[in-house]
Structures are given as structure tokens and as C-alpha cells.
Subunit: 410 residues, 4 copies
Amino acid sequence: MNAYDNPQAAQAVLENAKAAGLDPDRIIDQLKRLHIETPSWAYAEGGTRFGVFRQPGSAKTIEHKLADAAAVHCYTGITPTIAVHVLWDFPDGFDPALIEKAKKLGIQIGAVNPNVFQDQAYKYGSLANPKPEVRKKAIDHVRDSIKIATQTRSKFLSIWLADGTNYPGQDDIAQRRARLIDSLKEIYQAMPNDQVLLLEYKPFEPAFYQTDIADWGMSMTLCRKLGDRAKVLVDIGHHYQAQNIEQIVTWLIEEDMLGGFHFNDRRYADDDLTTASIDPYQVFRIFNEIVAAQQVRSRKFELAYMVDQSHNLKPKLEAMLQTVDTIHQLYAKALLVNRKALAKAQADQDIIAAEEILRDAWLTDTRPLVGLVRQQTGRAPDAIAAYRKSGYQQQVEKERANIKGGDTLG
Amino acid sequence: MNAYDNPQAAQAVLENAKAAGLDPDRIIDQLKRLHIETPSWAYAEGGTRFGVFRQPGSAKTIEHKLADAAAVHCYTGITPTIAVHVLWDFPDGFDPALIEKAKKLGIQIGAVNPNVFQDQAYKYGSLANPKPEVRKKAIDHVRDSIKIATQTRSKFLSIWLADGTNYPGQDDIAQRRARLIDSLKEIYQAMPNDQVLLLEYKPFEPAFYQTDIADWGMSMTLCRKLGDRAKVLVDIGHHYQAQNIEQIVTWLIEEDMLGGFHFNDRRYADDDLTTASIDPYQVFRIFNEIVAAQQVRSRKFELAYMVDQSHNLKPKLEAMLQTVDTIHQLYAKALLVNRKALAKAQADQDIIAAEEILRDAWLTDTRPLVGLVRQQTGRAPDAIAAYRKSGYQQQVEKERANIKGGDTLG
Amino acid sequence: MNAYDNPQAAQAVLENAKAAGLDPDRIIDQLKRLHIETPSWAYAEGGTRFGVFRQPGSAKTIEHKLADAAAVHCYTGITPTIAVHVLWDFPDGFDPALIEKAKKLGIQIGAVNPNVFQDQAYKYGSLANPKPEVRKKAIDHVRDSIKIATQTRSKFLSIWLADGTNYPGQDDIAQRRARLIDSLKEIYQAMPNDQVLLLEYKPFEPAFYQTDIADWGMSMTLCRKLGDRAKVLVDIGHHYQAQNIEQIVTWLIEEDMLGGFHFNDRRYADDDLTTASIDPYQVFRIFNEIVAAQQVRSRKFELAYMVDQSHNLKPKLEAMLQTVDTIHQLYAKALLVNRKALAKAQADQDIIAAEEILRDAWLTDTRPLVGLVRQQTGRAPDAIAAYRKSGYQQQVEKERANIKGGDTLG
Amino acid sequence: MNAYDNPQAAQAVLENAKAAGLDPDRIIDQLKRLHIETPSWAYAEGGTRFGVFRQPGSAKTIEHKLADAAAVHCYTGITPTIAVHVLWDFPDGFDPALIEKAKKLGIQIGAVNPNVFQDQAYKYGSLANPKPEVRKKAIDHVRDSIKIATQTRSKFLSIWLADGTNYPGQDDIAQRRARLIDSLKEIYQAMPNDQVLLLEYKPFEPAFYQTDIADWGMSMTLCRKLGDRAKVLVDIGHHYQAQNIEQIVTWLIEEDMLGGFHFNDRRYADDDLTTASIDPYQVFRIFNEIVAAQQVRSRKFELAYMVDQSHNLKPKLEAMLQTVDTIHQLYAKALLVNRKALAKAQADQDIIAAEEILRDAWLTDTRPLVGLVRQQTGRAPDAIAAYRKSGYQQQVEKERANIKGGDTLG
């Protein structure tokens, strides 16, 4: 029996939830309202520094990317937006007709990502570059991105910087920081009041000795210097080994500084693997903190849940469907946690009971639940299986066979 | 030839410094004014969770510890203070006569360290404990520590917490954080205006799933909620592997939030090894950032340089002499950096020249320089050799042979 | 509904297994024959270097430990043996009456663990110590342990060494290695033909610069020098961060050098947490490799599955029940993998299908299955719940209240 | 004063060495006979997955690379060979005339590196690929490389594989291993008796879940299955964080399985930075183990010392000069260790004395010594300074300005 296509099992899960004092209807509703943004670049070719393994049918144009993102939304129902990358998606400038094209496909353009790391000018950095003319070039590119975001009515401007140094002494760390602050202030000033700046951190790569925004503490400190609409973006793969990401998430929520996520997974470095493919429990724990903040502490915040992965081996669309399905399930598990019982066990300092309450949700098979949600919205319960049957892949392989271009990095 | 006893070589180093635009007299002066605090607990027995290897002559009483710290100061000239640990040093309360005893030995009592982790009450934490009565007990102990600091005219109250959890779900991370903030505020209120609270962070151990103050970002965020006299304490061993500590130091300086250091080294976890015994270049780079902040950006700050090590195998006093000598030398190297040439190479984006300028100081043999400084203050140039000749070790082994007690952990 | 007490759900799982070409009866049989050894030291007090939080009712004598191990076996049905630690369990020599006492409790004595790290003599190592007299002392202790193992008819002599150095230069690494080889050969010679030497590796702690058996490669190389009855012991917590343990397990199986496991979990260092409490997917993947070796490649091997944890906060017996339950379930998941379909997907290079087949087993809720197995052997389906109801904890707290001793380290 | 141009200081160092019982003439001789191989690909464009920053004058053809390698040898005197990369250097087949061209430039072709990772065929691996036809293609390429090595009279065939998987379940780890063994055996059979196979290991990247030769234990196990002329290649950057590389080196020497090195450095992952730019003490400790094996234990072995770096920011030739100079100095330091005194301190278990003896060599400024060696062989004492004055860079920038090609990855 297909585990997604088991409404009876789904009902059993919901009954258990009810017995735990949770509201089944609300769980279903929240599972329908989950909103994961997929990135345009995940549909195009990408790889490692050792090479790119090309896939037939990979997206070559922004139109292809929109179509692929729409296909993922079609089967999952929770990916109504696509993040865009200004340099890769609009190399010749943004064409407003794309807004309509997306709409017709049933999706919208989401977060706008400037690229200030690929041009030769950025050899020694972009917003923190010692040369004022390079900083200006980078700021100008971000200004252009802001304009595109305004046109597309995107709420989020998402900034990741490759800035940093490779060797001790290469540049003055404090001065790089000062330049970065100035550049970010200029950018923030240029943003309209309804846009949010998401600022990513990363402790390594491609700068190897020191990256200018290395951790959440640096990102938050910078955001605080800008204003209310600057928030921290947490990329799962951008941490030190053994770092407790869910604790960082909680701190950012409590400081009202969490802006969103880039979902992916990794074993060693920033491997950009499928979310939760290596450490699924971690993603569950992150969602658990978010749900706890909402349900237990009534925190109000809006998060941009975005995927940022680079599939060099897996078929790109299937990998994205698998990703979205996995995130959907892990969120479902977090919604199933018996908050009342957990609070009691914690108050009793009954560690084992508390842990088992968390694990009761974690161990629950949520495939039937996600399948039910899909069925209720007119979709097939098993997204990957349905996609495989659809013939989409074969079709785009044919259509895109002789089209060149579309290569991206990262 | 003993490398420390080479005034000619020292002069050559100073001439090179002069040629680099540095002021030799100022270098000598700064090397004399360097102030490293040694910790009372490093003179007593300590070990790992697998056991303690006892050393003849180890300090059993606070008087022994004062004597040992004074001996280290006697041979190095730069350790005029001793950090104290309230629980281990004053188990029966603080005796003000100790102030005079220290003075007679030529030293002073420095940072006061409360202990809120060893008592059975602290099983589930201290300042973040779910039970108000445990939090109160911990706060009361810290209040007592503040009183001792007032009596000893210590400037620094140094707080490290073992708080955290071992398992997902064990406690609510956000509520632990809220309790911690409240407790710290109470403590801060209790401190007189001339005391500075130093707040340490540590990402692991003895809490294994999550520590309540895991990194510099959390420590700084907490300090900011307290007031101007709360600063971050950087313990070298309390970081993730591969973390760039000197960058954190620079950020803290620029945010005016750096309070001081706990010096030690490690390979894997928080190994509490001799400073710079595993990665000497790292400590040089940290001092380089501090000196750059002072010399290039004219930043004003006062730092508590403290040693925090646990020598299970090395003879404790010799290990401390070695530590202090090493720190002295690495600071000397940082003082020898040609700042003007470095700034020029950085402006030229000449990475190799910049790195080589840093390394020119790094590669300089600074033993003659440190030896010269000692000679100028009436000391033997080679501290360890002089100590070995002195017979101090043999004497204390005899004197302390039949005295029991003094065991500490950590 | 209690998830363990759901025979209908268990049947559904078994039917799915059947549909996947697996034999439901064999799965049940294997789940009954799983044999996890619990360690005597997990029932006694233990903690971190920062202190021990004492628990009422913790085992003070070897008799207590036998009773506790028997209790765990009573509720789980898969822990019929207890590993013993010569120094801690038999401080006054081994009393053969214990064999009978264990038998009466329904368990047997399992692996014998010598202790050559705690005595003051071992400051600079045991089997690799530079001093021949210390090496002799250590070898003699291991010889005594072999004799005990002979008396108890234990199959396994399990050796973990704390040997290593803290500082570069402290000792000659190659000479330490040579001494270690000689000592191990002497030990191996002393073992009767029906005993197996299990040799553990650990990359850090309590030796911090270098441990003499740092990784599986070193352990295997040493075992190869000894003979067929020397095998590698894999302790989950004794690895570098990001190391792929299941691959090591596979290599050891293929080289016929895998002897067994010490189960536990950790986030940063060797934290000795409850198995799979931090990274459950990893333990599933390890079992998956073991089951694949048996089912796909028909490898024959006997493994000593042993728990090695140190619970400083969790109640010790409940923590052990939780551990055994978790291992039982993760093993069950590995037994549910559709091997035929997996092989086909792998041959087709269909990464996503292959991963999903693995995850189909992983995502299955195996609590009903484990509950069914317990019911079929006359046990309550939910081990922890049944234990909590039993009153055992209250009883031993009373009985052991005024008994002293039994402290262990590690 | 230029630190390299100080013969008096060099003499002082040699006198100290003599006083320590070392032979100054032998030290000088060993410093002259040190042989570091530079890699052809370090002179061509390379970068990270985020982009390549192009450098004027970078090598576009194999002739350029030979010229650049010869220039490095001209200024350092210790790089008489150049490692070649079959795919990148001889894309149209190997032209034997290159042997003569190299000879005229004063260098020789060294280790030959096949490339079995870049072709689209290698998406799922090369020597461990599930498809026999892909394995054959890879083996055929290596056979071609062996023929080139025969023509160039290269002693070393150096193999690094990108083989591995990205996801649990993707392929059968044990079967990959079996295929790899078969492929390597075929390759080994094809090698003439005077060639040595060097087998590299790497725990991550570009395969992210599992690499087929993850660590030294796997590489050694494979080499043992091949024969005497298969040895392990240690790449400094291919280790887990905190791993003790010098211990691995010692084990490999004692097992007679060490074949050579790829020198580079890193902070987080495989960053391919300049050797010793992040952790110089580590490289000193590695050399210390090698020198100890030769001097203390009279081990005989021949090592291939090779540089493997990828400079995306630093000027490539200067970076190589800096690298070779650094390695030269760190080797010099290892030669200066007072072996007799070290052995005595170790026998006395005087940790501090032993460590200080090691550090006495480490802290010695060896620039004068290396400068002296260069002067004695008719070179300028400061290699980088002399190169900068030579005008070579300006010349090749002009000559190579309009030549296309030469891009490499990795």
C-alpha cells in the first residue's frame, strides 16, 4: 500500500492529535497554508568545483524555471512562489512580462537575490571591498535588484555575500566590517518600506580564512544597525559542525530577528544536499521550536521558508518534490507535538517523559497526513509518483534538448 | 646559548622594529606592562572525567595557591594577580586577612569566579533552572561573590555557567533564556559601579545537547540587556572547530563588548591544554587584532587576560610559567608587526606582501626580547630554567606532603 | 492509544514487509533474537568532569547492578547479558558466586572490561607506557580480567585504552606504538581460544594531543598483528565530527574485522548520551549496512552489541530501557528495507527511488512491531510505561538508601 | 635587514645545532637535497564553485606551465620536477617533445595524475562505478597515464578519485568497494615495475554522503591488496577537523605504507590554501615525525613531496614561491631538533622539557638558513623578492595576453 494514500491512517493520526488536546482541523489548515519557496537556480545546471554533470531537460531560461517551479507547486500545493537570482535569471535585464507569465502558471515571483560574487570585480569582495568603486558597483547591482523586487511585488530581498579573505593579513577585518556596514546602510535606505532585507551568514567558502558575515551573531548585529526590516536568514548548511541550529532559531525568534530559512542538508561542509537527507531529526527540532514559539509563547513573525540546494546528481525536479514533501512532513510532525504534556513533563523535570513526548510526534508516520492534505486540495497523495507518471520530464527533455545556456554556479 | 639570554639578538629585533617605524622603547614598555592573571585552580589538583593524576606539592589551601601564583609572578614579572574561585578557595567563607597575605607575597586577588554548577541543586541548571528556589540559591551565591570582590577590590566578576540541557525536549530553550536574563539582571543590579561582569560562552560540555550561552552572539546579546559594565569573556577552547576566533575578537572590540580572555588550547573539545601548545599561530593572530585595534584604530578598552587551564600531567607551576612565557612572546610578536607597511600592502591588495609582513613578526625569535625585559626588571632571562634551579618545587613538595584537601574539578 | 500496543498496526507493517518480498516470521524472529548487552557501570553513579549528580537508588554493588540489568531484560527481553568492569565491579577480586546470582536473575555476565587508566601508575599510559614496570602492571591486570572472563564463560574481552599524550614532543609516537603492539601480543597470547579480544579506538580524551589507538584504521592494523580472535570495537561517540560511521562498519565487515559496538550518541565530543537521541538516522544507517551484509552478501559474523552510556541527568534504568527500545526499533526498521527493490533502484542509478526505498523503512512507525514482539514473549508492549508502573525504582531507592560506594568514572 | 640575507645569523643557528650534537654540514646538505614537486595545475586558472578570478599571465599551455615551474625552481633550487595532469595538460595526447622542453628549462616531469572525475561518464563514479563500461573507460584512461609516465620516466602515478555517493541508499557501499578493488588491481597490473602507485584519500567532496576512499585506513587497506609499489598519499587538507595528521604519518611510515604528500592548508574544508598559512605548527610536526623516523629509527623510505593548491586570489607564481619557501623552512626546523636531548626528556617523562626542546627548533628563525642554502647554490637569498625584481611576471603577462584556454578545475 502506498503510504501517502491511506486516509484511514491519517484519521488515526488526527484522532491521536485530538486526544493530545490539539485541533485536527487547525493542523490540516496549517499543513495547507505552509509556504515553501523553491529557487530558480535549482532547476538549472549546477555542480561542484570538480565539474557539472548535465541533465537532460534542465532549465535553460527563466521561462523554463518558472514552468518547473509551477510543476512542483502543481504536485505539492505548497510552493506558490519562486526565488529569483538577478544575474542568472535576468542577464539582459528584467522583463515585466515575466510577472504575467508566472501568474498564468499559477505561481508568483518571490525573494529577489542579487549576485555580487561572480563578476571579476569582486575578487576581493563586494560590499566590503577596499575599493570604493567596487562597492559602488555592488550597491548599484543591489539597487537594481530592489527595483526588480518592487516590480514583482516581492517582499524579500535576500542577500548572501561571498566577502571575506583567504589569508591572515590579507585585509583589515575591522575595516572590512566598517565598509560592509556602510554599504548595507545605503542598500537599506534604497529599499521601499514594504520590502524586507534578509541577511545570510556563512562561516566559510568561498572565502576560506574569514568570511565577513560568519555567523548569526554577526548577521544580527548588522541587521540591528539597519532597521526593523532587516532580518537574519538561516541557511541550514552554513554552520559549524555540531552547532545547535534550533537554539539559534529560538534566540532569533525571541530577539524578533529571524527572517527565514534556506533549507538544505550537508555532512561536512556546505554540501547543498536535499533537506533532511542526512540529519532529518535536526529539521524536525527546528520546526518544533518555531511551532512552540507560535503555540506556547504566541510569538508573531513571518518567515520566508526557502529551499537552497544544488543537485548535481539527482534529477532536479524530482529532488525538489522530494525536498518539499520532506519539509511538509517534518512540519507536520512538529504540529503533532503534545504541547501541554510536554510543558508538564518539563515542569516536572522528567527528562525521559519530555523527550518521549517529542519523539511520539517524531516517530509518527506523517505520510498519510500529507497525502490527505494533497487529496483535499485535488492532488495525488504521492507527489513524486504522480510526477513520474505525468510525463513532464520526458516532455521538457524533448523541448529543451537543443537550447543552450542557463548555466549557473553555486 | 640560551635563547632568552641574548641581549644582542634582542637589540637586533628592536632595531628592525625601529626600521619598521615602530618605537622600541614603547615595545619594551608594553611588554613590561602586559598583565596576565593566573587562576588559583590551576595550582590545585584537577583532571579529566577519567581521573586525576595527583602531583606532589600541588596546592591544598588558598595560601598555597597564593604562594604559587606569587612564584610565577616572581619569575615572569607579568602575573601580579590571581583569579579566585569562591567555592574552591573559600569553602568556609572569605577571610579578609587573605588580602594582606597576597600583598605580602607581591600579588593581588583578581577576578572572582562564583561556582554555580557543582552543587547537587544545579542538576538542571543554575541561573536558568526551572525552579525559582534553585535560581535564588545561585543568585545568592553570586551575590556573595560580589561581596568578596568588593572586599578584595577586584574589578572583575567572571561568570561561566554549566546551564543547558542534554536532550531535545528536556526543557524549553526559550524559557531557559528568559529565566537566565532575569537572573543576570538581578546579579547586575547587585554589582557596585566599579565592577565589571564578564560573561563566558561555551557551545558544549557539561550540557551536551544545548548550552544556554553557546556562543559570543548569545553572550553579547545578554550583556547588552544588562548594561555598560557587562562584557563578553572569550575562552579560546570554547569554540566550534574551525571557528575564526580573532574575527570574533575584532567584532567584540568594534562593538565595545570585549571584556577579556581565558587562555588555553585544545585539539578536539575543551581540552584545557597549555596556551598555544597546539595552535600557536592562532594566539598570535588574536593579539595581532588587539594591537591593531589599539594602534591603527585607537580603540580604548581594558581587557582581563586570564589563564584557564587544567594540567593533569604537566607539573602545575612549570606549566604556568611556560604558559605565561608563551603568551608574553606571542604578544611581543604582535607588537613587532609593521603596521604601516601592512596597511599599504592591504591597500594595494598585495595579499602575499601583506601576509609576509605579518609573518615577518611571527617568524621573529622573540625569546631574546622577553629575556631582555626580564633582565631589565631584575629577573633571570629564562623563567623556567630559573624556577627549576630555585628549589621551590622541592620545598613545597616537602611542606605540603601531609596536607589533605584542595581538590577541585574542571 | 499507546503506540506500542497496536497489534493491528504491527500486522499492517508485516504485511507491507511481505509485499516487499520479506519474510514476516523471520523479521519477528530476528527481533526476538536481537541481543543488546547493557553495562554494569551505567547503573552506578557517573558524571562529567564538572561533577556527578547523584540519583537515589543508583547501584552501589555488583549485586545491585545485576539486579538492574535483570530488570531491563525483564521489560525488554533482549538484554540477557551484562558487561562488567573489573576495577569497579570486583574491587576486591571476582567472586564466582556472582555467576550463580546472575543466573538466578535470568541474566549472564558478558564482556569483561579491564581498567588500565584510573590507577596513578597510568599517568603516562598503560600498555604503551614508556616504563616496562607500568606496562607489566597493566598486562597483569588484563591477565586477571582474562581469568575472570574464563570463569564467567564470557566470550569477549573488551579493551579501551586511555593511552596517548597531551603535548607534541611529550613522547615518541612510534615507540608508543611499538610498545603497544608488544603488550597486546602478550595479552592475546594469554587468552584462551574461545575468547575474542575487542579493541576500541577513540580519537581524543582523556589524551588530548594524540591517542595511541585513534581510529578504526589503527585498531584494525593492531588486531591484524594479533590474530583471528582480535576484532575492532566501534563506539559511536568515538569519531570525528562528520565521519561516516556506517561506511567504516561496512569496511570492517568486508575485512572480517568487526567485533561489535558500543552504542551511545553525542553532539560535540564523546558525550555518552542515549543512543540515537541526537542523530537517530545514523544508527538506522548502521543497522542497514549490517543487515545488508547478512541478507545481500550473506556475510557471517557475530557482533557484540553493547551499550556504553553515562547518564548524569536521566534516571539510569529508565534511560537504559529507552536506549534498548530505541535500538530495537532502529534494528526493526533496517529489517524492513525492501532489499530487492533497493538493489534494482541502485542498478538503475535511480538515486531518488533508492533513497525513498530506504526511507520507506525508516519512516515506518515500528513501535507496534516492537510492542508485538514483547507481547509474544509475555511482556508488556510499552517497556518504559510498564517499568514505571512496577514500583522497582521506589523499591531500590528504599533498599539502597543507606548503602555507600559504587562510584565510578566515565 | 632582509631576514634571508643574514649569513651570520645562519652560522649562529648552525653552531647551536652543533652544540646540540647535530651535524651542520648534513643539515645544509639535506636542505639542498629537499625535493618538492610543484603541480602544473597550480599555474593555470582555477577557483571555487562560485567562480574563477582570472589572473593576467596565468599559464594557458603545458609549455607555460613548464616555464613557470622552472621559474620556481630557479629561485628556490628545490623544485626540479613538475607533476602533470593528463586531461588538463595533454588534452590532445602526450607529445614526447615535452620531455626535452622540460629538460632545457632545467626541470623534469614528475608524478602523472590521471583524471577520472570530470567527464560526464563519471557522474556515478569511475573505478567504483556500477557500470562496467564506465569502469573500463576509467581504467583505460589510467592505462594511458601509465604509458605517459613510462615515456616521461616518472616514478609516480598519483590517483585521486572523486568516487562516492551523495545520499544514503544511492549505491551499495560494499559493492562499490569491491568494484574499486578490482579496478585498482587491473591498474596495478598494468604498471611497470619501476612505477609507484600513490593512492589518495579524502573524506568528503565532491561526493558528500560517502567517499569510496575516505581515510588513510581505507587507502592503506586497498594498497595492501595491490602490492609493494602501492602507497598512501597524504593530502594535508583531506582530513576531519582535529585529526592528528602527524600520527597518521608515523603509522604509515611504521607500516612502510607512506608514499608521499600533497601539501596545502585549510581552515574548514578542503580549502587548498597555501601550505602552513593557517596552521604552520602542524606541518612542522609532520616533518618532525619524518625526520625522527629517519634519524632515530633509521627508517628508509622515499617520499613524493608534492604541492597541491589552488590559488584563486594570490598570484600563482608568487604563491608557489612562498609555499616552497615555507616548506623549506619548516623542514629546516625539523632538522634542528635536538634528538638526543628529546629522547632523554621523553625517557625522564619530563613533558615540559621535551616540549621545549621541540619548540626550541620551532621558534628558531630559519630564514637565514634557507637564505644561506640559496646563496651557496648561486641563488638570491630571498626568493620572492628576487622573483619580484626579475620582471618574469610582467613578461609572461605580455606574452600570454591573447592566448586562450588552459582552464582547469579543482
